[in-house]
């Protein structure tokens, strides 16, 4: 490989240059942002499948059975697409970030390895669950779905612990650019693992619940208030609504964790420049010239949240050398977005709870149903925003404090071409996935008695 010595302008073939680095980052963001939605469904949907299947067996109820069939069919498609989008990610870890994997693969490859086993079990049992519906006795069939749920949650735990390691790299010593004394277990159970994995797994259940419910919320809006639609709405919505308050607590835990372990990221999330007490909490705003402008400021807010007292000192960006600061505005806005959506979804859950308590029915208010129909997309947006906070907030580091993104990237020229190419593929994939899922919904409406075959 030839490397130009003079600082090259951003031209198509600029080995390891700015255009290729930007393309690699965008490609990673695109593929992960895509995969994460499917991954959430892969973690959460099995719970819904199992619940409806179990009710159907217990009570012989046809509506539960119909839901169980219908969701199994959707999972068949979603799982396949989730699996391929995940396979691409494993390629991309090497195609885009060989500088990360070549040095640190032996340290944090271990959770990926465990994840591989979890996938295997998931793929095997999903095959059994979907295809052996009429072959196995109902109870055995139900049980064959249990490993899918366990493996899905486990794989989320493993892969997020690998990500947590990038935030809190542990379990190795670096000598002359080579890793020595690696400890895979210590790497996997790094300090960031508990807050991140808990928050992510809860997010997966929220997304699965709210997204599934939103399909039926649309039906309810169109006046289909039969029992099938009511159940299809209330079962997943209840799951997600119950998880929401815990998710907010978990998010609070994650933020407190950052205050102690990654204060630079917290400062970027809050757009705080000056280290000191009486730190304000700012909602919205744009960060220019070391200051958040046009935001809504709550005096002492941040100090109160972090240290329960206006005198609590919060570290700002001024303690970090300018070259090591992440971009502030996107991190800050995405954080506000995630938190805002979290509280909105909490209110929505309360609305349903109060209505149920008073009238034993799903609210008839169109506003409620509209919001419920949007809740699926909103929860997915919260996940995307949360990941932008985590990943962009870690910049310019890929491995916090150890390896910069510019050192991790593949130095080969032309990466941007791959990015363009993959973007086209993802657009096609998105359109076809949405099309096929909508088609499944419509076909189901047309022929409710159709025999199952996922």
């Amino acid at each position: 490989m030839t490397t130009p010595t003079a600082p090259a302008p951003v031209v198509p073939f600029d080995p390891g240059g700015a255009a290729d680095l930007a393309a690699a980052r965008m490609q990673m963001a695109l593929s992960l942002g895509w995969h994460i939605v499917l991954a959430c469904l892969g973690v959460g949907m099995p719970a819904l499948l199992l619940y409806t299947r179990w009710r159907a067996i217990r009570t012989g109820d046809p509506d539960h059975l119909r839901l169980a069939h219908q969701w199994a069919r959707a999972v068949g498609v979603l799982f396949a697409v989730g699996a391929v989008s995940g396979t691409i990610l494993s390629f991309e870890m090497g195609l885009l970030w060989p500088g990360l994997m070549g040095v640190y693969g032996e340290v944090f490859g271990f959770p990926f390895m465990l994840e591989g086993f979890a996938f295997f079990l998931e793929a095997i049992f999903i095959g059994i669950y979907l295809y052996a519906w009429n072959l196995l006795p109902p109870r055995v069939h139900l049980l064959s779905g249990v490993p899918v749920l366990i493996a899905g949650v486990a794989s989320a735990f493993f892969v997020v612990s690998a990500n947590a390691w990038m935030n809190q790299p542990r379990g190795f010593v670096l000598e002359n650019g080579r890793v020595t004394r690696p400890s895979p277990w210590e790497a996997m159970f790094n300090p960031a693992t508990p807050p991140q994995t808990i928050h992510m797994i809860l997010a997966a259940f929220m997304v699965s619940g709210f997204l599934t419910a939103s399909v039926y919320a649309v039906g309810l809006l169109r006046g289909r208030r039969d029992r099938y639609h009511r159940l299809g709405f209330s079962v997943p919505f209840t799951l997600a609504a119950v998880v929401t308050p815990f998710q907010i607590l978990a998010g609070d835990y994650a933020a407190r964790f950052l205050a102690e372990y990654q204060p630079t990221k917290l400062a970027a999330m809050e757009g705080l420049h000056r280290t000191g007490s009486h730190a304000p909490l700012t909602v919205g705003g744009v960060y220019v010239d070391d200051r958040l402008r046009y935001g809504l400021e709550i005096p002492n807010g941040l100090s109160l949240l972090v240290g329960y007292s206006p005198d609590a000192v919060v570290q700002g960006l001024d303690r970090t050398p300018p070259a090591d600061r992440p971009p502030v505005t996107p991190v800050h806005l995405c954080f506000d977005l995630m938190v805002g959506i979290g509280f909105l979804l909490l209110l929505l859950g309360l609305w349903l709870a109060v209505n149920w308590w008073l009238r034993r029915e799903i609210p008839r208010s169109r506003l409620f149903l509209w919001l419920a129909a949007a809740a699926g997309a909103l929860s997915a947006i919260a996940v995307e925003a949360g990941w932008v906070v985590t990943e962009v907030g870690r910049q310019p580091w890929t491995v916090y404090g150890k390896l910069r993104t510019s050192e991790a990237v593949n130095p080969a020229p032309g990466l941007w071409l791959g990015f363009v190419f993959l973007t086209v593929i993802y657009v096609i994939l998105t359109v076809s996935t949405v099309y096929v899922l909508r088609y499944l919904v419509r076909r189901e409406r047309g022929a409710p008695q159709e025999r199952v075959a996922a």
């Binding site: 490989m1 068949g76 498609v77 396949a80 697409v81 699996a83 391929v84 989008s85 396979t87 494993s90 390629f91 870890m93 090497g94 195609l95 060989p98 500088g99 994997m101 070549g102 040095v103 640190y104 693969g105 032996e106 490859g109 271990f110 990926f112 390895m113 465990l114 994840e115 591989g116 086993f117 295997f120 079990l121 793929a123 095997i124 049992f125 095959g127 059994i128 295809y131 052996a132 072959l135 196995l136 490993p147 890793v179 020595t180 690696p182 400890s183 895979p184 593949n410 080969a412 020229p413 990466l415 791959g418 190419f421 593929i425 994939l429 076809s432 088609y439 499944l440 076909r443 075959a453």
Partner: protein, 335 residues
Amino acid sequence: MDPAQILLAVMWVGLTLYAVLGGADFGGGFWDLLAGRSGPGMPQRRLIEHSLGPVWEANHVWLIFVLVVLWTGFPPVFAAVMSTLYIPLTLAAVGIIARGAAYAFRKSSTQLWQQRLFGGAFALSSVLTPFFLGTVAGGIASGRVPPGLAEGDLIESWINPTSLLGGVLAVGVCAYLAAVYLCDDAVRAGLPEMAEAFRRRALAAALVVGALALGGIAVLNADAPLLFAGLTGRALPLVLAGAVLGVVSLLLLRLRRYLLVRGSAVLAVATVVWGWPMAQYPYMLPPGTPYRQAAAQPVVLTTVLVVTAVGALLLIPSIVWLLIIQHRLPYEESH
């Protein structure tokens, strides 16, 4: 054996399983492509779909297994291969997306034009993915991937005689395996004429792969002398065994002993897959990087090995159950 050697063997078992299980899935797509126009090709496509149905997802996890073992156990090799060969690998990855998604979509769509569109994408990518993976193997085996990040030639490392041979052979092997499996599946589905059709294809594919392999000897002699020396040296017993098994499979096919061909064809492919590392041992990236130099620290290797052993205890019974179910699945049920 040291832990690195054992892990290398474990990884190669994974690769072999990917070749004989995932490979047959790709081959199914190959025959799907050649099944003819929508109307007359339908029964064949149904049979292919029937035999892929419940297993294809699990079959493809073997690839992921190989990747994670490689990046955990031999990180510099992973980094060097992925960075130098990023073009064919990106193309293979795109093939994997298109294939998996289209396969799932086609099953869920009922109209002819949809099935044609998704089916076309499924079939085409089934051919392209093994081809590009084959060129990657050829690039590594012919010593065109030096250690370090993107140190090799980005184009010549996969557009060269050995890579092209690897690509074409990979497609051929996949097609052959699939045709062999489909003979047996067709008989079990009660479709004897279909079995005959796939038998003819399996014979043709076997002859083509055989001819390619013979011609390949000349290519390797000229383009990858080190590999050639290894194949005619240390790996010779495996090469010969592969040739014998190939001939045996041909005979069994002629005799319509489909279940037995299944076995002999798998063994033939396995010998080829194992012949390659045998020929270049102890180098992972020939000519200069022996596996010992690329291996992770012993703690990592032993941890990975222990976890693999425990994982296998969980996996093997589950896979067996899946395969039993696949075999018991009535033909009509899979639609």
